[in-house]
């Protein structure tokens, strides 16, 4: 992979939320990269740090508490961590756009749908579009997501959940971003509507050549839409690989194995699911060694003491002591 192809390169990124009382270690040394036109799936359970990572990419962390403690984010050759806010504002919404999780609360209830899509276009109006051109672009974006342009004068409450999510997607796509971050775009939707929205996102990505980060907890969605997959646990990437590495290979981090075993299988009848015991560790007080050790069924002595290094085989990398051991033997 040459550097020229990488549009996004995250190196050793750590983010904390700091209050007077405690420090929450939300993202711990994440290294990731994304090629142009590719889709990366970011999987993990509640509290794994997926959304914090996305907010950091957008530079939308809460100002008072959220702090980047180390690392860099290089987006199209520029480290966006240190960019002044005025410059970041030019990138945010224009080059990097985000589809937020909850379509019910991420729209402004007192503005019409059309006004909200036009807002991004007005803010990023370097080319000096006229009012008519902006209106035309609003109509175009709405058509793209399958909403009749005539509905642009309606307010969010007049739309159903699936339609609102389309509006949120239309806002994100209005400026034709290079990188689209989709944070659980279909979690609030029914399966049939989810299928419609996913098909649309996939189709738009292929047509516009947008790179995408798809954040989800649903392994099914990842299998159907992503080229690369990163599994997050307690703020770390514990497994990273191509979709084939994750879904077709048998060698996995015990946590990834646990996630798969927790899913009821549609094809065969399993009498019992094999859940992962216990809960995610408290992010204010993370274990000293491997962060998954307290829940791991294959935990060894070394796991409790020493944080594991990344073990890599081709495109597939796993952060676990098990594989270092087997290599030595």
């Amino acid at each position: 992979m040459s550097n020229a192809e990488k549009m996004l390169d995250i190196k050793d990124l750590s983010v904390v939320y700091k209050t007077d009382l405690e420090t929450v270690y939300a993202v711990n040394g994440v290294t990731l990269s994304l090629e142009k036109g590719a889709t990366l799936g970011l999987v993990g359970e509640t509290g794994a740090g997926k959304t914090t990572l996305a907010l950091t990419l957008m530079r939308l962390l809460p100002e008072r508490t959220g702090k980047v403690t180390s690392g860099s984010i290089t987006f199209e050759g520029e480290n966006i961590i240190d960019l002044p806010e005025a410059q970041m504002r030019k990138i945010r919404g224009d080059k990097i756009a985000m589809i937020f999780q909850d379509p019910m609360t991420s729209l402004n209830p007192v503005l019409t749908v059309g006004e909200q899509i036009a807002e991004a276009l007005l803010v990023h109006n370097e080319v000096g579009r006229s009012k008519e051109e902006i209106e035309a672009r609003v109509d175009e974006t709405l058509t793209l997501v399958g909403i009749p342009p005539a509905r642009k004068r309606e307010y969010p409450h007049q739309f159903s959940g699936g339609m609102r999510q389309r509006v949120v997607i239309a806002i994100a796509l209005s400026c034709e971003p290079d990188l689209l971050i989709a944070d659980e775009p279909t979690t609030a939707l029914d399966v049939t509507i989810q299928a419609q929205v996913l098909m649309m996102i996939r189709d738009l990505r292929d047509r516009l050549g947008t790179s995408m980060i798809m954040i989800t907890h649903d392994l099914g969605i990842v299998a159907q839409t992503c080229d690369n997959v990163a599994v997050m646990y307690a703020g770390e990437i514990i497994e990273l690989g191509t979709a084939e590495d994750i879904f077709a290979h048998t060698m996995h981090h015990p946590y990834t194995d646990g996630l798969f075993a927790s899913l009821p299988n549609l094809k065969s009848k399993t009498a019992r699911l094999q859940p992962i015991t216990g809960l995610m560790p408290d992010p204010t007080n993370l274990p000293k060694g491997c962060k998954f050790a307290p829940r791991c069924s294959r935990c060894m002595e070394i796991c409790k003491e020493v944080p594991p290094e990344v073990y890599t085989e081709g495109t597939h990398s796993i952060r676990c002591h098990l594989f270092h051991q087997s290599k030595e033997n």
């Binding site: 339609m163 299928a195 927790s262 009821p264 699911l273």
Partner: protein
């Protein structure tokens, strides 16, 4: 089935209409006939707004039905007066969807679990009641050190365990599980599903499992009912439904599930157009007609009846009228 079994719960043409504005009726549950036998689980699936939660609550008379009968062991409980119904409620319990909203924030865990037993005076002394509550915490896998904790101190999975312990406290026969795992992460979801299935085996419980998640419903149910706008479109055994779905809506629902398998990646998904139409004053004819790809003239005129097309397989669709 040769021998005649008595269903534990049976509904006969159960209807619940809500009045919305002048002359408008929202048909939330519209003529549901179903039978649940002791020790079995019936899964009820459908999209949001199809009336599945209302059905669950109507069966327990938490919402009064508009018409129809609810038979519990052959006895019509819609005729019961308030006092008799209160006694009855011990046998009919519910586990709610949202473990964040369904627990009293001002009571401690042990008080929440003991509450139903205190109200119903199931045990002679308070001491017995609290001992039993503590025992129930063991049964559902809650460490006893949480007895004096308050719900806000616990995570979603533990809260849902409190809801389960509370439902079990009065020795129910029938439990409506209203999306008990949809607010939980997959690893916790699997823990709760296993717990529910273990409890069913140990205590011979009968479940009605309401959910929108088809893989969960397949895992836990013996029979599955697919609901759409208050009506039952298809009802059959869990295996049969996934192998031979007959109703176009069921087929579309099944094909819409994203599977964690990359070989299915280029599978053509049957995307159904549009969204659920309003359940207020529905038009005559099949309720799914507006979104159905096989829709014919007849579907707009006349509502298909639920017919048994194969042993134990009921479908309400004009397409299935002829021999299959």
């Amino acid at each position: 089935m040769a021998e005649e079994r008595i269903p534990l719960i049976e509904t006969v043409d159960l209807k619940k209409y809500f009045k919305v504005g002048d002359n408008a009726l929202l048909h939330a549950v519209d003529g549901i006939n179903m039978k649940v036998y002791p020790g079995e689980t019936i899964g009820v699936v459908g999209e949001s707004g199809c009336g599945k939660s209302t059905l669950g609550r109507t069966i327990l008379r938490l919402i009064e039905p508009t018409s129809g009968q609810i038979l519990y062991n052959g006895d019509d409980i819609t005729q019961y007066n308030a006092r008799r119904m209160k006694k009855m409620r011990q046998e009919l319990q519910i586990i709610f969807q949202d473990p964040y909203a369904s627990l009293d924030p001002r009571k401690s865990v042990i008080e929440i679990i003991a509450e139903y037993m205190i109200i119903n005076k199931t045990l002679p002394t308070k001491r017995d009641i609290f001992n039993r509550a503590a025992h129930l915490m063991d049964v559902v896998g809650l460490a006893r050190r949480y007895a004096t904790a308050y719900p806000h101190e616990l995570d979603g999975g533990r809260r849902q365990r409190i809801g389960i312990a509370r439902a079990l406290s009065v020795n129910p026969k029938f439990i409506v599980c209203d999306e008990p795992v949809s607010a939980l992460d997959v690893s916790i979801q699997a823990q709760i599903l296993n717990l529910l299935m273990d409890l069913q085996d140990e205590m011979c419980l009968t479940y009605m499992f309401v959910t929108h998640d088809l893989s969960v419903v397949k895992h836990i149910s013996d029979n599955i009912m697919v609901m759409y706008l208050g009506q039952c479109l298809e009802l059959t055994s869990s295996d049969e439904l996934f192998e031979k779905p007959l109703h176009p809506y069921t087929q579309a629902l099944l094909s819409a599930i994203p599977e964690p398998d990359i070989s299915m990646r280029n599978k053509k998904i049957k995307v159904i157009k549009g969204e659920v139409v309003s359940p207020v004053n529905p038009k005559p004819g099949c309720r799914f007609a507006a979104r159905c790809e096989h829709c014919q003239e007849r579907c707009h005129q006349e509502a298909p009846e639920l017919k048994e097309v194969a042993p134990g397989h009921f479908v309400a669709c004009h397409l299935c009228d002829g021999p299959i």
